[in-house]
Every structure is written in C-alpha cells, then in structure tokens.
C-alpha cells in the first residue's frame, strides 16, 4: 500500500528550505547574542580562589607518585588539615555559600537570561511553524515507522490512510532541532552547539558547587595511597637504553 505520493514542488521551496534556513540563522543569532550578553561579568575573587585550590589539589593527586613520600604527606596535610587546611569547610559556611549564590542578584539574573535565551526562540519558532505550516504533508521520511507514531508526526493531516512516512512540518521542525546541533558545533566552533539539556543540568547544579567539590577533593586526597615510582625509574631507564642500543 505504499503508493508514492507526488508532492508539490512548491512545498520544497517554500517550506523545507526556509524552515531549515531560519533555524540555522536563529541559532547563529542566539550564539552572538549570548556572547554579547556574557561580556560583562566580573568574576568573584573568592570563587576563583576556591577553584584554584581545587585545581592544585587535583594536580597533587595526579602527580602523587612522582614526589618523595614525605613531601607528598606534608602537602596532603596542608590541604586536609582539620583546623586550617585549605579544603576543610565547616558545615555552617557551606550553607552560607549556597544561600549567597541564589540571593546574589547578578547571578540569578544571569541564569534567568540564559534560560530565557534558550527557551524563547524555540517557543516562537514552534508557534510560527504551527501557524503557517500546518495542514499539509511536508516531507517523507525515508524509513518506515509504526502506526503509533502517526499521531505524533502527522499532526495537521486528517487522513488516516496516508502512510506514516509522510509527515507534517511540525516533525520537520523537530528533526531540524536535533539534527542541526551537530552542524552548529561545526560552524560556530568548539562546542557552542545548542546543548540545551546539558546547559539546563549545568544551571541547576551551579549554586552548590564549591562546597561539595571541596569536600570531594578532600576525600579523594585522603584515599590516595602513595607509591613512589622513583625506584622503578632506574629499571625503566635501563630497559629503554637497552632497546636503543639494539
């Protein structure tokens, strides 16, 4: 029953291509707008300091085996000492950091702006697509789908005998939404793609970050067993030199 519908050429010209072009352009526009809006943000010195402490602790963990045991231990005590170690954050102060993060007007405004700039173009475009491009078959998907997808994909089309592969323009919009992410990451360079789910996760986890990551680092540092690699270096150097001689 797969009759091949012949669709009007005008649909190609006036629906598929303009929709794709509009979505690409909106993506580029959103990238530039977010770049403009982000330029005025003074980093908080305390947060930067804590971030650097975390980086130092991480480096210590990574290079632990290359320094003598005593110096590793003294460094570790410096970090995780109960009284004035850098990584030790008393409980009261941890809560304070989170509250401060959310009541700080700049930070809240920033988060809201980023959320809005993500949601508004999508909503507007979706409404536009629904208003203008509904009620006709827009494209044919090259692979077959089951009948359950019919209500999702063929939204404006009221015939029930049409093959599920013929879809309305709403599903073309969603297809574009997901498929153009890859294209954006190629054009706009380096992960400026529209990773909306990723960014939403980042938004929700941002406020409480410093305190938790400090204690996580401290735990990681406490766990590590020092195994000094120096005695083995001589052995390794001997092997490398032997290989070179041969």
């Amino acid at each position: 029953m797969a009759e091949d519908l012949v669709l009007d050429t005008a649909i190609r010209d006036w629906v598929l291509i303009p929709l794709s072009v509009v979505m690409v352009l909106i993506g580029i526009l959103r990238y530039f707008v977010s770049k403009l809006m982000r330029s005025s943000q003074v980093p908080d010195p305390k947060i930067v300091k804590e971030g650097q402490v975390i980086v130092r602790a991480r480096n210590l963990r990574a290079g632990a085996n290359f320094i003598p045991p005593k110096s590793f231990r003294s460094r570790r005590v410096y970090f995780s000492n109960e009284e004035n170690g850098l990584l030790f954050v008393p409980k009261g102060q941890a809560q304070n950091a989170q509250a401060q993060m959310f009541s700080d007007p700049n930070m809240a405004m920033d988060m809201m702006k980023k959320n809005l700039s993500m949601i508004i173009p999508q909503t507007l475009t979706f409404a536009w697509v629904n208003f203008f491009f509904s009620g006709f078959v827009a494209a044919k998907i090259p692979f077959p789908l089951t009948q359950r997808f019919r209500s999702m994909l063929q939204n404006g089309i009221d015939l029930s005998t049409v093959d599920v592969s013929y879809v309305s323009s709403r599903s073309w919009y969603f297809l574009n939404l997901f498929g153009l992410r890859g294209l954006f990451s190629l054009i706009l360079g380096e992960e400026n793609a529209m990773d909306d789910t990723q960014r939403m996760m980042q938004m929700s986890g941002f406020g409480f970050d410093p305190a938790k990551s400090l204690s996580a680092e401290k735990d990681g540092l406490d766990i590590i067993q020092h195994e000094w690699a120096l005695p083995k270096f001589e052995h390794r150097a001997e092997e490398v030199l032997k290989k070179l001689i041969r």
Partner: protein
C-alpha cells in the same frame, strides 16, 4: 581521507611517558576527543546527503550509517598510526564516541536529500 575534507586539526600525543602508571595530558586528550567529534559529525552529514541522493530507504539507510561510522573509525585509527593507546585512553572512545549525535544529523540530511531528489 584528505579528499573528504577531514578536519585537519592534528591529534596530539596524550601519553608521552609510558610509565607503569600511565599519565595522560588532559588537555591533549580533550583535543583528541574534539577531533573525533568533528570528524564524526562531518562524516555523518556527508553520509546523510549521499544516502538521500542514492535513494536508500529503511534499513539500508541505517546500515549505510553504520558503514560510514566504521569508515570514520578506521580512518581515525589509521591517522593515529595504529597506536591507539598513546592518543586515547580507551578503545571505546575511538569507536563509539559521538554515535548518537551523528545519528540525528545523519537522519536530518538523509531526509532532506531524499526529499529533494526523489519527491521533488
């Protein structure tokens, strides 16, 4: 591979010194991940257009996608001169990474090309 316009950013060695405890330069590792991602995305877009023009439908199209991904993997392995462990930290990266994202781009461009050519 140069003919396909493979993103010519080079891959950098991420583990210079093969100790008993292998060390990785995180920055180089990340750069290599990016290279894989770009290559995959680009190849899946091109593969989608080709599949649409040739008129693949249904399963044939997906098999073609796997074929394109395999070719990309082989190309990446060849470019790293078959010593995968000095550029990446595990086999899974070079084979499986970026699969799903590439799939969506592939389907988009496949549908696009198929419609333009066959139901024009």
């Amino acid at each position: 591979m140069a003919g396909h316009g493979d993103s010519s950013s080079s891959q950098k060695k991420s583990s210079e010194v093969m100790n008993d405890v292998p060390t990785f330069s995180a920055e180089n590792l990340q750069n290599n991940m990016k290279v894989i991602y770009y290559s995959r995305t680009f190849m899946s877009i091109i593969g989608g257009v080709i599949a649409g023009i040739l008129g693949f439908t249904g399963f044939m199209g997906f098999i073609f996608y796997f074929l394109v991904m395999a070719v990309t993997s082989i190309g990446l392995i060849a470019k790293s001169k078959f010593s995968v462990h000095s550029y990446f930290d595990s086999w899974n990266r070079i084979i499986l990474d970026g699969f799903m994202g590439g799939l969506m781009s592939f389907v988009l461009f496949w549908t696009f090309a198929y419609d333009i050519v066959h139901i024009f």
